[in-house]
């Protein structure tokens, strides 16, 4: 069967469409053009680069785990329960999506910092998070969690509750229904949400530098390292940027696969 001929688009839309695509793609080409291929290996394997890369990988993984631990239950409550103030709560939870990350970092600082809202209580407990690796993870979780919540909540709403009702009528308790029915049915949405949060955590800059600072080996993640190298060693910055571009492309591929399975 041949696909029916689609309705014509206005011809002029191709011009801005092409311009838009070029605007997004050209800078990637520019990065590729600028890479010092001869020293590429050395540049991305230097001591500082490796440290920053591993720190980024570890903190992003940790924050993705935290996103799952808190974000999945949050998405469940938002998608499956109705209570007064639900829509307000939903908007506020998604705030980090639109908030400038620097503002997010400041907000975290004045919550968990030494003189913050909870700082006193935490000092009594002997915990100091500001300007530590934990702060990096917290900053990343703060900005990345909404991505998981948004895509999972959407998937949960699309899946509906019909299968869950059947499962319950067959004698499955809430936890069994969650584990054996709800999660498998929204798995594609969960995977793409997780991948997007990981990507967001990996690229996090503003909140991290504000709340965690830029301490080599402790809080200086890859984006911070790139920003710093830009001044002293532009070639290294470009090489590391390319690494992040490659990671981003892989992430998009993953997320698309997750969607495709829907």
């Amino acid at each position: 069967m041949t696909a029916p001929r689609p309705v014509d688009l206005p011809r002029w839309v191709y011009v801005p469409a092409l311009a838009g695509a070029t605007f997004v793609l050209l800078p990637l080409v520019a990065i590729l053009a600028k890479v010092d291929w001869a020293n590429f290996g050395a540049l991305i394997t230097s001591e500082d680069s490796r440290t920053a890369f591993w720190l980024s990988l570890k903190t992003s993984t940790a924050s993705t785990v935290l996103c799952l631990v808190f974000g999945v239950p949050l998405a469940l409550v938002l998608a499956r329960r109705e209570f007064p103030g639900l829509s307000v709560l939903r908007s506020l939870v998604l705030l980090p999506l639109v908030l400038p990350p620097v503002v997010g970092g400041l907000a975290l600082l004045y919550t968990f910092g030494r003189r913050g809202l909870l700082g006193g209580a935490m000092e009594v407990l002997g915990v100091q998070v500001a300007f530590s690796t934990i702060a990096v993870v917290m900053a990343q979780t703060f900005v990345a969690m909404p991505f998981l919540v948004v895509s999972l909540e959407g998937a949960l709403r699309t899946a509906g509750q019909r299968y869950e009702v059947v499962a319950a009528s067959l004698g499955a308790g809430p936890t069994t229904v969650f584990r054996r029915i709800t999660i498998p049915l929204v798995l594609p949405g969960l995977v793409s949400g997780t991948v997007l949060s990981f990507a967001r955590a990996l690229g996090e800059f503003g909140a991290t530098i504000t709340f965690a600072g830029s301490l080599q080996g402790r809080t200086r993640t890859l984006p911070l390292e790139i920003y710093l190298q830009r001044e002293t060693d532009p070639d290294a910055a470009v090489a590391l940027s390319l690494v992040l571009v490659v990671v981003a492309v892989l992430v998009i591929g993953f997320a698309r696969q997750g969607r495709g399975a829907l």
Partner: protein
């Protein structure tokens, strides 16, 4: 008694009470919006009534309302398996794992649950499809798997909500036979709008109308002597409801129908029902002279083709005539005609 159910759901204007004996299948009949699904929802614990009490095998599942303890056992803890129009097989599990879901949830081990699942699949005739995914099953096959899945959960009460209404007509007779077999001796509530389902699958029927029970009894009895307009329509009969006066049923609108009195004599002024088959009605354009038959003057409201017949609707009454007769009479909506029925073709009985 397996199930005692009484509920009031103000929001949907439903107020119903009935019982299901152990091993009995009860059909709940009624037009759309009569509250059938609400009643199933109350039994399954999916709908919280304003006032209501549900007792299954001596265990109180729902007891809510003013001055009640406010008990509402959650759906998974009621032992009431639900089977709806759509099979709703879990798409990520194959047929066997779908059926094994109930036993697994009840704590059975993996292999024991699978053995039991395979037995139920064999029982409903789809044992060889055990390893198919739901997407690879036809509608009829999927519904059979759903039946097996509901039964495998070993429910104390099986709730069936129009389980055959979404299926292809071709597969209905075989599935009906299967259901007949598995429902025998099992406590079940079957919501349906098909009188054949009620006759073949149910021991007793309850007829709902506008959220109230209007009729109940043995399935064959209700469908051969309907007392509500809905049951009469299901049974394919004309129904005139009125009072017994001077040897005939007199309807509030003055219509008088003579017939054969069944099931004991009627007292003057007693509420009575007259029913007759549409095929027993002859249609005339002009008054028929001096005959001992019933002659009802009616206005044609609609003509409906029905295989090789034409069904002539006149308000709540209808007559089946041949296409030729309809053509010769030049029938059209709005026309005044006479419906003539022999008294021997009319059953008359008490409404209570």
């Amino acid at each position: 008694m397996t199930l005692e159910l009484a509920c009031d759901v103000a929001e949907r204007d439903v107020g119903v009470a009935f019982e299901v004996a152990t091993g009995e299948t009860l059909a709940v009949l009624g037009p759309n919006g009569s509250g059938k699904s609400t009643v199933l929802g109350v039994a399954a614990g999916l709908v919280a009534p304003d006032t209501g009490r549900v007792v299954l095998e001596g265990r109180v599942l729902t007891d809510v309302g003013p001055g009640r303890p406010g008990l509402l056992v959650p759906p998974h803890d009621r032992r009431t398996a639900l089977l709806g129009q759509d099979p709703l097989l879990f798409p990520h599990l194959d047929a066997l794992e779908n059926v094994a879901f109930g036993p697994r949830s009840a704590g059975a081990g993996r292999s024991a649950a699978r053995r039991s699942a395979q037995r139920w699949l064999d029982e409903v005739g789809v044992g060889e499809l055990a390893h198919r995914r739901p997407a690879q099953l036809s509608g009829g096959q999927a519904q059979r798997v759903a039946v097996a899945r509901a039964l495998a959960a070993a429910p104390a009460l099986l709730l069936l909500d129009e389980p055959m209404s979404a299926l292809d007509v071709a597969v209905l007779p075989a599935l009906r036979q299967t259901l007949r077999r598995v429902l025998a001796g099992r406590s079940a509530v079957l919501v349906t709008h098909d009188p054949l389902d009620a006759l073949l699958l149910a021991d007793r029927v309850v007829v709902l109308s506008e959220g109230r029970v209007v009729e109940q009894g043995v399935a064959t009895e209700v469908l051969s002597r309907p007392r509500s307009p809905f049951a009469a329509r299901l049974a394919g009969l004309n129904l005139v409801s009125g009072t017994w006066r001077d040897g005939c049923v007199e309807a509030p609108d003055g219509l008088r129908v003579h017939g054969q009195v069944e099931g004991g004599p009627l007292a003057q002024g007693e509420a009575a029902i007259a029913t007759f088959r549409p095929a027993a009605v002859a249609v005339y354009r002009d008054p028929v002279e001096g005959s001992p038959r019933n002659e009802l003057t009616v206005t044609v409201s609609e003509l409906e083709p029905l295989a090789d017949l034409v069904r002539v609707h006149a308000g709540p009454l209808h007559a089946d005539v041949t296409v030729q007769a309809a053509a010769e009479l030049e029938l059209a909506a709005g026309q005044v005609v006479r419906f003539v029925v022999k008294a021997t073709e009319v059953s008359v009985y008490s409404r209570s």
